[in-house]
Every structure is written in C-alpha cells, then in structure tokens.
Symmetry: C4
Subunit: 228 residues, 4 copies
Amino acid sequence: VDRSLDPDPATQAEIADTSRLETFADGVMAIAITLLILEIDVPHVEGDGSLALALARQWPSYAAYVVSFLTIGIIWVNHHHLFTVIERSTSTFLMLNVVFLMTIAALPWPTALVAEYIQDDARRAVATAVYGGTMVAIAVMFNVVWRYASHDARLLPRTVDRVALARINRNYLAGPVVYSAATLLALANPWISLVIFALLALYYLVPTSGPRAALLHDGGEPAPGEGQ
Amino acid sequence: VDRSLDPDPATQAEIADTSRLETFADGVMAIAITLLILEIDVPHVEGDGSLALALARQWPSYAAYVVSFLTIGIIWVNHHHLFTVIERSTSTFLMLNVVFLMTIAALPWPTALVAEYIQDDARRAVATAVYGGTMVAIAVMFNVVWRYASHDARLLPRTVDRVALARINRNYLAGPVVYSAATLLALANPWISLVIFALLALYYLVPTSGPRAALLHDGGEPAPGEGQ
Amino acid sequence: VDRSLDPDPATQAEIADTSRLETFADGVMAIAITLLILEIDVPHVEGDGSLALALARQWPSYAAYVVSFLTIGIIWVNHHHLFTVIERSTSTFLMLNVVFLMTIAALPWPTALVAEYIQDDARRAVATAVYGGTMVAIAVMFNVVWRYASHDARLLPRTVDRVALARINRNYLAGPVVYSAATLLALANPWISLVIFALLALYYLVPTSGPRAALLHDGGEPAPGEGQ
Amino acid sequence: VDRSLDPDPATQAEIADTSRLETFADGVMAIAITLLILEIDVPHVEGDGSLALALARQWPSYAAYVVSFLTIGIIWVNHHHLFTVIERSTSTFLMLNVVFLMTIAALPWPTALVAEYIQDDARRAVATAVYGGTMVAIAVMFNVVWRYASHDARLLPRTVDRVALARINRNYLAGPVVYSAATLLALANPWISLVIFALLALYYLVPTSGPRAALLHDGGEPAPGEGQ
C-alpha cells in the first residue's frame, strides 16, 4: 500500500470529519435559532386601534421566542462541550447527528404553535404537549448521540475516567426525564408545564463546566502565559 | 518568478479552495435542511374545531419533512465522504458544485408541493412526479460532480485504486436509476412511489464507510493511541 | 493522569472554544442580516395601478433594510474586533454571547414594524420606540459581553495596557447612551429619532482600528514582506 | 512592549481577519442563494384545475430562480478567486464588503418582483429595470471591493505583476458596463434585457482561471505528487 502521500491518512480523515460535522451542526443550530424571529408577526392595526396594545397582546410570541432561543442556545453550548471530548467520528455517528439536528430544526414550528394557542383555553394543552414533545425528542437524541460516542469510549480519548463518564451519563439522562414529566403535566395544567420549560431554560443558562474537565482531568483555565 | 512569499503557492491555493467550497456547500445544505420546517403551517382552528385533529390531518407535512430532511442529511454525509478523497479543486469543479447545490436548495419547494397535494386524488401523481424529478436531478448532479473529480483521478490522489474507483462509480450510478424508476412509477401509482422515496431515505440512513477506505486502502479506525 | 494524548489539552480546548463561538456568532449574524430582505414585500398592483409608484411608496422598507443591514454589519465588524483580543472562553461567556445574539437575531422584526408604521402618524412613535429599544438591548449586551471578557483581563492576554482598556470601556459605553437617548426622543419626535439611527449607522460605517492596536501595541500594518 | 505571547501578532491578526471575512461573506451568500426558493409559491389549485398547467404557468419563477442562483453562485466563485490573492484586511475593507454583501442579500426581492410581473405587459419593464439595477449595484460594489484591495497592491502580495493587474482591472470593469446596458435596454424591450441577464449567467458559468495565476505566475495545476 502506497501511503507516501499522507503519513497518517486515517487519523487525519477522522479529525476532518469531526470539524466538518461541528460546522454543519453549528450551521443548522444557528439557522434554526435565527428563524425563530420569523414566527413573530407584525400586528396589523387600523382605525382607532392602539399599536402598543396590539404589541402587548403578542406577549406569548415574545415569551416563546425567548424560551426557544435560550433552549437552542443551551443545546449549542452543550453540543459544543461534547465535541471538546469527542475526537473521532464514524458514518453512524454522522447519521445520528443528522437525526438529532432534525429535532432541533423543527423547534420553530411548535414555538409558533404554542404562541398561537397559549391564550386559547380549549387548545392550550394540546399545543403545549406538542411543544414539550419536541423538547423530549431533542433531549432523547442528545443522549443517543452522547451514548453512541461515549459507549466504551468509542469516540473519546481512551484515557477518559470511566467513573466520571458513568456520572455524566446519569446527569444527561435528567434531560429527557424532566422534559417528559413537564410534557405530561401539560395535559393536566399547561400553564405550569410552560413555566417549567421557561425555568429549565433559565436553569440551564447557569453555566456548568461541561464534561471535559471531569473526563480528562486536564484542568480548567490555562495558566498565565500559556495562552495563545 | 519571485515565489519567496510562498514556498508552494499553487498547492496551497488548491487546499484553500477545497476548504472554502466545503464551507459554502455545508452552508447551503444546512440552510436548505433548516428551511424545510417553514413549509409546515400552524393550523388555524376556530369554534369547536379540534386542534389535535387539525394537527393529525397535517401528517403529510410531517412525513415530507422527515423524508426530505433525511435525504438532504444523507446527501451531506455523502458529499462529506467525497471530500475525504477529493483534494484539489478547479473553477469548473466549483461551478459544477454550484449547479449541484441549486438542485438541493430547491428541495423545500417540491416538499411543500407534495405535502399539499398528497391527499388530492386528482393531483397526487403530478406533485409526486415533481418531487421525484427533483430527487433525480440531485442524484444526477451528485454523479456529475463525482465523475468530474474522479475521471482519470483528476482531483483525487494519484495513487487511488482504479479498480475500486470503477466499482464506486457503478455504485453511485444506482442513485439516478432508482430515483428515476420511482419517479416514473408516480404516474402509475404515486403512493408506491412515495413509499419508495421514504424507504430510500431509511435505506441510505444505514451508514456505509464511504469511498475513502476502498480507494486509499488506509484502514478505517485509527488504532488506539493514534487519535488526536 | 495520562496526558500523553495531548501535550497541552486545556490551552487547545480554549482556542477551539473561541473559534467555534466565532463561527456560531458569525452564522447567526449572517442569517439575521440576510433575513432582512424577507421583510420587503413584492407589491401587488392591478388594473391601472403604477408599479413604479407602488415601489416608490415602499421607500420606508428600503430605508429600514439599509439601516438595519448596516447596523448588523457594524456589529459584526466590532464583534470581530473584540475577538482579535479575546483569546479564551468560558461557559458563562458562551451564554452571554447567546443572549447577545438573541437581541441581534430579533432585529428583522422591529425593522418590519417600523417600515410598516413609519407613515402612520398615530403609531409611528410606538414603532420607532420598539425599534430603538432593540438597538439599546443590542448595545447593552455588546457592553456586557465585552465587560465580562475584559474585566481584570479575564479572557484577554495578561499583557494588555490597562489604561487603554479603561478608555476603550468608556468609548463602548457611548453606544447604549446614544441609542437610549434616540429611543426616548422617539416619543417626542420619531422622525428625528429615525434620522439619528440612520446617521449612527453611517457614523459607525467610518472604520476605526478596533481595540487590538490600542491594547497590545503591536502595530497596525505588517511591514512589506511580512505578509503571508 | 511585551510581545512574548505572540511572535508576530500584527501579521497573525491580519490572516485571521481575512479568514473570518471569508466565512461571513460565504455565510451571507449561502443564505441569500438558498432563500431564493422561498420566492416560488406552491400553486393552490381547486375544482377542475390542472396542477400540471398551474405549475407550467409558473415558469417565470423557475427561470428567475435559475438565473439568480447561477448569478450568486458566479459571484461566490469570483469572490473566492479574489481572496486567493487578497491576503490582508483593514476595517475599511470589512465595511466595503458589508455594503457589497448588502447588494447580494437583496437579490431574492427583485427576483420575486420580476417573476411576478414578467407576464404583465404594462409592468414588465419596471420590474426588469429594478432587477437589472440590483445586478448593476452588485457589479459596481464587486469592483469597488477589488479596486480598494488592489490599488497599489494595498492588500495583495507586494510582488504582484502590475501589468497583469491593470488588465484584470479592465476585465472586471466589463461587469458594471454590460449590466448597465442590459438594464437600460429594459426600458425599451424588457424581454431582450432578461435574455441578456440569462445569457450573462451562462456566459460566466464557463469558468476562467481567476486572477491568481496571472498575478502571481505560480502556475495552475500542482504537478503530480505535489498534492496534499
């Protein structure tokens, strides 16, 4: 086999893979997060109508925009954290990420749905449940992507701390569980359910350090002078 | 000729070319895949109407979203695979990629068309044929891009295995053939045609290793310790 | 701890962080800036109506497009300048940037709002105030992002000139102050307020050198021959 | 001055600048090109209406999509060519690129305008003139960006061939001239004008080698074995 063109082609291909996957995922998440604004209408007020009042009445759209924006932002930060430890890729992993991105890219639609029906007593529960269901799907796929990568350190450095890995796996499982509970709650009381989605966005907004420090024990901050 | 600024300018320009082409292609595919959600409407239900029922009636939109999303995702993965072996670029190659991207970027439109008319007996066949025609155009352009790059190893490493190359060329030809057959079938029975498009998306979802391993014989997985 | 895989993992992770943050921020800003055109309608003229006249009557949409486009463009250039001196990242910093991007991504909506109501005497003030309020939110978040990064040189090189840093901080504060003043003015005279927003876009269009030269004293232009 | 952190910070900052500018420009062009499809409607046919006929009647939308897509694609390829020779950046240059991108990002709107009025005898000329005017603006700004960068080799390698540079400058001037002529023609005969826009897209589709080879005399194709 002539490998003179490339001293270590397989390794290099793996690195390129991860980088192009990150770029594609960042692209889809950046677009989905920016499309959210298209779901907010410009109110059409005529005659004696007050624009200020019409704008105020649209508060569910703004609230839904903020919650969905922060949620996608948080997913992006966490996806980002995963790829500080994931260092290889496979075709299966690419496909799992495509399915994961499919759930995120869908979010503008349930966001508009819940904003439309949040003030409709008869339909609020269904709209909230669809919104929550999308959140559950995102949380489940996030775990699937991570489990595939971390199982037996498949795409991680071989030196990861297996005890820390098990703990992180448990932590990430909280996502699907909490979102499923809040979604089921929507059938009983959609308002509480929506408040929980908003609180979850705020809760996850408080940053954590991500899995890298725990898994690789490589310290957090570079020492002064180490920068660049 | 003064080449002191750059020890090997031509080679460097070629590498930069491929990287910027990949970024542009990834951008177009990420946007096209994320715009798909805009084709799904929020149903407007009033009076006694059931939102759950209205959402359920929109199933063709969700099905079309999933099939088109997976199809673009699969094309992205395969385009990705191509560029693990394509290592140079030319102006002609850039233009061929622009035409290829034009077919992919068009997909949100036939997706909405087929979702709109899938339940209309008189028009289902035409909508499905247009959808299939777009798929055929994508598959043909994918082959054109690959054939241009691989012909006489024009943009590939000179050391590629020519026998494997011929086999890969034959494999890629299956795309236009199968999609053309399914599109023609739409004129007789659009349902079967649509089921085939969905099955093709699922079939291609099962990952393959891509052309790199076959063409360069450089192995698949890096050995333990080789990572990073 | 086995760190043989990566001679300096913490430092490397920090670099990757900044680069992926820049890519994501560039993506959101590129999309928000490009979505602005969707807010301009194609006028529907029938019968004897003049298309030229209908297009001319839409001048507020074109003016709003230009002002908002230049504003986002200027924010991008300034964000760009920040990251020539910011060289590390933290989870908190990522989250602050997500909130900053949320204000920028919202801009297409108040842009359409102000274009819709600029010719409506009774509602011009409210629409202008909402537009100005979004500008204030962007300017405030820009300062928050910068203050977090520059406080005690948290994410900057340790060698930055502290005196220059204090001066730059004062300069950046002008943004929120001027935009707040123009927004308050909208309640008295929205036309003057809108002219100020346009003038600010033109004013900031005149380029400055950014904080890097002042903070790092590393000179501006590379000397001839230093390029490459 | 402590420059120990960075052996050559100014030069490095310049390189980063060009790369982030290219990413942002690629993003805007990728989004503008992909948004074009949103301007094509799904026809709503009811009763006895033929979907095939309704789709056929929309041919101006498809034609406008193809011409505008190829035009943006060609601009992207040419912008790409510029940045194989442009190796530095300045704040002024960033701002000029923002204005250049503003003209490209606007293209989906005149594309929809011309598709809407191409079959309307009374309004075809105005719509075509607006479309052509946008093309002229793009071509003018392309020249402004290039002239700024190439004037006295401001952002080019100092070793460029000045004679070749003058010839390239003349060639690029053809763009604004030809597009202006075709736009003026629209007032007399919009059909001829539109055919010229389509032919120009096809004409520029035939690839040229770009300015790099002429300016740097560094050869076109890497010799066999030089790749990677």
